[in-house]
Amino acid sequence: MIADGGWGSNGSALHGFDTCQIPGEDFTVAESHASEYGLAHHFSSMEQQREAGTIGMWIFLLTELMFFGGMFLVYAIFRATYPSGFEQGSHLLSVPLGGLNTVVLIVSSVTMAMAVYSSQVGDRRKLVGYLGVTLVLGLAFLVVKYFEYREKFEHHLFPAMGFYAPEPSHLAVQYHQPVRVFLWIYFAMTGLHALHMIIGAGMLLVLIWMAHKGRFTKSYNSPVEICGLYWHFVDIVWIFLFPLLYLTGFHLTGH
């Protein structure tokens, strides 16, 4: 979610649709705002703006936790009901690809953290660079996901009624229904996760553009930090998704 209060507004020029300028009114307050770079008109100080943005993102992440939490609960309930079915379903997923994606995301969190650090010390080139690498890694994740999904579709392993037709060599008949539920949870959760990744990628693009234009300074870099929070959260969700979906019943010595 793009928070207001600082993003894209640099004091005097970009007020957009705000109607700050009330003719005939005493405007000492607004004038002092106009001089502070990056401060939105309704905040009284940069400190307040930064605090609001950060708290806002934490609260938003809390709502995301509740959102994904509901799905995790559904997963837990059905896994408890069909333990062997879920194992079978998990075997249909590719651990190497999932593992690769996990590494990709963890590294991207590191580069994101480096980007935040760069913004804090005011290093514009490194900031753009690290943001760029994070974006590339995020896109790589999505590409791998695309291949995983495509393979599922090719094997008729998408759980829509009428389309779903697992091969007998892959799956014994009595597991068809539990695996259908597993696959549904897999697609729903990784799909929602991928959607959040796409939104995150969009945010990164905006940040890269802004950083490139020199919009961030040592004192005004909260959008980068806030985006970093979001990115780390999306990463953490994957850290939970990966073992629960891919590693159920996984034994190192083969399935």
């Binding site: 009114e25 059905f78 229904q177």
Partner: protein, 552 residues
């Protein structure tokens, strides 16, 4: 009776209302006050639609046979009544209209923390509302507002998926509003405005926002799951495919129970403000009332199973949910006692908002206590899914939440519009609403104990007298609800100009003009007093002077 207007309002003065007259300046506004009015317009429209459905229900139930509507139509009518009233009227009502308008002003701020997000919230609400209107036009859904599968996922022939998507989208409006409010309250309080100097209206909205951000995502994912179940027949709720229909009930009520606290807590905040200011006394036990709001928000998340005592959940689950439900009732009782104690040795005025506040006290007590009947395990077995439940929730949602909303609307109307509504009409309609409401819903308690089930359009003849009484009351109630619609609208053009502080109240919102300028204040407010300190209210002193200046 001519009254001196204490502070004059110049025609040429800029307020948020005349700061831009174009449609664009309204539809693309970032001003929280204008956004509040946008919501007022939208939810009033939805209230009318929901009210028409209510009228159809009561008309049908005048006779035991189903003769006005077909069974199928009736099922759609009561479903749409519930869905529209809950999701598109009650849940937004006070937070989106009064909260949006007042919260920044009460905090001494210029706007909410994220004004663009605030506008986005309204657009999201409108998009969700448009989808629901589409559902309505396509014949409406017939699943009950509770959407229980397998009926909703397999058997219903109505636009369940689209309705689900509509609610999914509208939920984000609620989440973003809650987020905005929480951040605003945390970070944008004026200097000197510590937490325990906040008006109780603000505390109430903080607690409400907590529920909104934690609970709404769960209904979002639940309704999404239902829509996917219906579209792809996955089998999570379908027993024939190994799913569990009761799982849906757990997920649904996990949000929908806290949702009722989203509806009542803001109303309690309004009542605190009205009673304090119209008795000129600090709310008795301020800290207790503030903490009770938080307690209700927290405990409210732990009791969802009390909607499922007969649903085949285990007896032990029932015991746990029942006992915690009694714990939730206690903070509400504490508030009621505190409000009553506030009136003691106060200086009581009988203006319209106070009449609404008093009506709230009585109706919420009945509504809340009848909740105790339903939280009682052995009794709920008999009462569940009967008209007793219908009566209970209308007492708290209409007698509690809507009465509070109307009281607040009247109380802050002068601030919002700069005009006074006609006082006599205000008091008369409040009384008509109170009488009509009781005639409509009290007989339903009796119907419920007698065994009349919910969602029936035809019933056994011995229930008819009570239904006729109820429908007669509904007619009166309808008239009572329509009256404010007309005279409030009338007052915008023809009402008497309002002074800055018509109620001689305390609170930052009364320290600025009626209506306020776009920036809310023409100075930077600094708070030096506790909440509800009436000794320093200048307007009270002025009123005394004005009165003593009158010739004897």
């Amino acid at each position: 009776m001519a009254t001196e207007v204490i502070a004059s309002v110049e025609e040429s003065r800029q307020t948020y209302l005349n700061n831009g007259h174009t449609v664009k300046s309204w539809l693309l506004t970032l001003d929280h006050k204008r956004i509040g009015l946008l919501y007022l317009f939208s939810i009033s429209a939805f209230f009318l639609i929901g009210g028409i459905y209510a009228a159809l229900i009561r008309l049908e139930l005048l006779t035991p046979k189903g003769d006005l509507l077909t069974a199928d139509t009736y099922n759609r009518v009561f479903t749409m009544h519930g869905v529209i009233m809950i999701f598109f009227f009650l849940i937004p009502s006070i937070p989106a209209v009064l909260g949006n308008f007042l919260l920044p002003i009460m905090l001494g701020a210029k706007d909410v923390a994220f004004p663009k997000l605030n506008l986005l919230s309204w657009y999201i609400f409108m998009i969700g509302g448009a989808l629901m209107l589409y559902t309505l036009i396509s014949g409406g859904i017939d699943t009950g507002w509770t959407f229980y599968p397998p009926y909703s996922s397999i058997y219903s022939n109505s636009e369940v998926t689209i309705a689900g998507v509509s609610i999914f989208i509208t939920g984000f409006s609620s989440i973003l509003t809650g987020l905005n409010f929480m951040v605003t309250i945390h970070t944008m309080r004026a200097p000197g405005l510590t937490w325990f100097r906040l008006p109780l209206f603000v505390w109430a909205h903080y607690a409400t926002s907590l529920i909104q951000i934690l609970g709404t995502p769960v209904i979002a994912i639940t309704i999404l799951a239902l829509a996917l179940e219906r579209s792809f027949q996955i089998g999570i709720f379908d027993p024939k495919l190994g799913g569990d229909p009761v799982l849906f009930q757990h997920l649904f009520w996990f949000y929908s129970h806290p949702a009722v606290y989203i509806m009542i807590l803001p109303s309690m905040g309004v009542v605190s403000e009205i009673i304090a200011n119209m008795t000129r006394k600090r709310v008795f036990g301020y800290h207790f009332v503030a903490f009770s709001s938080l307690a209700i928000a927290v405990f409210g998340f732990l009791v969802w199973g009390h909607h499922m005592f007969t649903s085949s959940q285990s007896m032990y689950a029932g015991l746990v949910f029942s006992i915690i439900s009694y714990a939730v009732a206690i903070p509400s009782a504490i508030k009621t006692f505190n409000w009553t104690a506030t009136i003691y040795k106060g200086s009581v005025s009988f203006d319209t908002p106070m009449i609404y506040a008093l009506a709230f006290l009585g109706l919420f007590t009945v509504g809340g206590m009848t909740g105790l009947f339903l939280a009682a395990l052995g009794l709920d077995v008999h009462l569940h899914d009967t008209y007793f439940v219908v009566a209970h929730f209308h007492y708290v949602m209409v007698g509690g939440a809507i009465i509070g909303y109307l009281g607040g609307l009247h109380y802050w109307w002068p601030k919002m519009t700069g005009k006074m509504y006609p006082e006599i009409l205000g008091r008369v309609s409040a009384i008509i609403i109170f009488i009509g409401f009781n005639f409509t819903f009290f007989p339903q308690f009796i119907l419920g104990y007698l065994g009349m089930p919910r969602r029936y359009y035809a019933y056994v003849p011995e229930f008819q007298v009570l239904h006729v009484l109820s429908s007669a009351g509904a007619l009166v109630l309808g008239v009572g609800f329509l009256m404010p619609l007309f005279y409030l609208a009338w007052s915008i053009k023809y009402g008497k100009p309002a002074p800055n502080n018509p109620w001689t109240a305390v609170g930052l919102e009364w320290q600025t003009s009626s209506p306020p300028p776009t920036e809310n204040f023409t100075y930077d407010p600094v708070v030096k007093t506790e909440a509800y300190e009436f000794e320093h209210v200048e307007e009270i002193r002025q009123a005394g002077k004005a009165a003593s200046a009158q010739p004897a």
